[in-house]
């Protein structure tokens, strides 16, 4: 029976902060092609704040930790990604209420809540060239792998692979949400920065399992 422990959740958040800091320039470059050149800077600022807050809640349950991450991102990131990723962690945290560890079913519930939250807040559909295009395939792959009886690291690896494919699949899409949508056909040929950060976040989870 494989689980994600609370310590692993904390390390996942630390790894997320590190990978977003390392990819700050990359995400901002992607965003400058079709957005407003701030995605990397904003995510890095948000997760630096998360790192300041994390020690104060690291002994709380996983739901509490994730909700604190969500609140911190909402009040520090701004832009569209602040409310969207803030809602992602808030709703993920609500699905992990009072949990000290997550089994496969719990992890599915967390990701389901998180993705539902993003869709509700941003009202993006699959194919709109947003983070949803990485997250929905990842959720589907996670469910499928668990249903097939795979252990957690393998199931998360399947989710990450699906997120990566979804991220790459945003390249030929024409954006229909956010600032990129104003470019019309000129948004085609560029990878979506939000889908890219979503892949990085899920990949950071795989790294700590």
């Amino acid at each position: 029976m494989s689980t994600v422990t609370k310590e692993q959740v904390v390390r996942w958040l630390e790894a997320t902060a590190a990978v977003l800091a390392a990819n700050k320039g990359y995400l901002t470059d992607l965003d400058s092609a079709i957005g407003d050149a701030d995605h990397g800077t904003n995510m890095d600022r948000g997760f630096k704040k998360v790192m300041e807050k994390l020690p104060t809640v690291a002994d709380k349950d996983i739901g509490n930790i994730l909700k604190t991450v969500g609140m911190t991102l909402i009040s520090s990131v701004g832009g569209a990604s602040g409310p969207l990723y803030g809602t992602f962690y808030m709703r993920g945290g609500m699905a992990a209420d009072a949990k000290e560890e997550l089994d496969a079913g719990d992890l599915i519930n967390v990701l389901q809540g998180a993705v539902d939250g993003i869709i509700q807040r941003g009202r993006a559909q699959p194919g709109d060239k947003t983070m949803v295009d990485a997250l929905l395939p990842a959720l589907a792959a996670l469910k499928q792998a668990v249903a097939d009886g795979q252990e957690l690291p393998a199931a998360v690896a399947a989710a990450v692979a699906a997120a990566e494919q979804g991220m790459k699949d945003t390249i030929p899409l024409q954006a229909r949400k956010g600032r990129a949508s104003y470019l019309g056909e000129r948004s085609i040929g560029h990878q979506d920065p939000g889908a890219t950060s979503s892949h990085l976040i899920l990949n950071a989870l795989l790294g700590v399992l």
């Binding site: 400058s32 407003d36 050149a37 701030d38 941003g122």
Partner: protein, 355 residues
């Protein structure tokens, strides 16, 4: 990057400190979370008008805080929307009990953050309404995009609705007037150069010496199309006609009604011969006022030929994109109610008359 800054992380804070030092009679500044608010807030019995958005558009919005315009403004990082805690705490600080109207430019970040702030204010028992400003005719459809951006009309709506609140309009009346004034306003912008966000350190896009970007928003994002530079008259004629001949525009907006977000279908009617308008020629920051007058000269000519009567005008840098060279044109149909509130006294750092 050549800029008059000290350290990149301090850009917004030092600007706010400068504003507070320059205008202590008009405004105060709260830090962490950051917001600019009227020195005499809350004003008893008055609906509070709040706006906000990324920094880099000065004097909007902080420069429009004061008597007859905004009660508070929430500045985000440069070209990044502010956060809900700023808006919520600003609302708490300036709410007199008559409620708060959030004027929100239609950019996804601004919209989402103000929606969260409205949820928080409503939960605390503050009467609150969100009205979207979406006037940019460069965006043709709302089905395959995030809808028209909020640009030049924002300045005019803040002035008009600010005066109405000062005159005693209640929250619903302020919201109705804001919705109407937005539906009467249309804008179009263009850029001659890119601009540099301090945190990025390099221009947002590259542009050749003989090129211009047509149909831009206000965040340095690329516009509708890249074109060869054309003379001012030809450009003004093209932009004015895009605005004047723009067809009816419909879209679905989300407004807060009794704590629930409900979709509303709104339609902007096109201009017609005989309409009276307020004409606003705005610099994106780098274009001098002399060139704006050259544009206005042609704009007045085109409007006259199209049967549109300019009854008021505003010319200058009011909604900018850092040091970008370029300009925008806004026409806003002016009925008696709108003209009365446009002419009403205003006393803010960025706009002042009648006092």
């Amino acid at each position: 990057m050549k800029k008059l800054i000290n350290a990149v992380p301090d850009v917004v804070k030092e600007q706010l400190e400068g504003m507070a030092a320059a205008h202590p009679d008009l405004i105060k500044v709260h830090y962490e979370p950051d917001y600019v608010y009227r020195a005499d807030a809350p004003v008893a019995g008055k609906v509070a008008i709040i706006s906000g958005g990324g920094s880099g558009h000065e004097p909007m919005h902080g420069g429009f805080v004061g008597m007859g315009m905004l009660d508070a403004a929430c500045p985000g990082a440069v070209f990044t929307s502010p956060t809900p805690d700023q808006m919520y705490e600003a609302a708490q600080a300036v709410n007199s009990g008559a409620g708060v109207l959030f004027l929100v430019k239609n950019y996804t970040g601004d919209v989402l953050n103000f929606e969260m702030a409205a949820d928080m204010a409503y939960a605390e028992g503050i009467p609150v309404q969100n009205i979207l400003i979406d006037d940019d005719v460069a965006v043709k459809d709302s089905l395959y995009t995030a809808g028209r951006r909020g640009v030049g009309t924002t300045v005019l709506v803040e002035k008009i609705v600010g005066a109405a609140a000062e005159a005693g309009y209640n929250l619903e009346q302020c919201a109705d007037l804001a919705r109407k004034a937005n539906s009467y306003g249309r804008s179009m912008g263009m850029a001659l150069t890119s601009c540099t966000v301090p945190a990025a350190g390099k221009p947002i896009f590259e542009m050749g010496d003989d090129e211009m970007e047509f149909g831009i928003g206000i965040h340095g994002e690329p516009g509708q199309k890249r074109m060869k530079l054309i003379p001012a008259d030809e450009l003004t004629d093209m932009m004015a006609k895009e605005i004047i001949h723009d067809k009816a525009y419909s879209r679905t907006v989300r407004e807060l009604v009794d704590g629930q977000w409900v979709d509303k279908e709104l339609v902007d009617e096109p201009f017609k011969r005989g309409d009276k308008v307020i004409a606003f020629v705005n610099s994106m920051g780098g274009t001098p006022v002399s060139e704006l007058y050259a544009v206005y000269r042609k704009l007045a000519e085109v409007c006259a030929a199209e049967g549109i009567e300019i009854v008021r005008n505003l010319i200058g840098p009011y909604i900018t994109s850092l040091e970008m060279a370029g300009m925008s044109i806004t026409l806003l149909k002016a009925d008696d109610e709108i003209l009365k509130f446009w002419d009403a006294p205003v006393k803010t750092p960025g706009l002042r008359w009648g006092v």
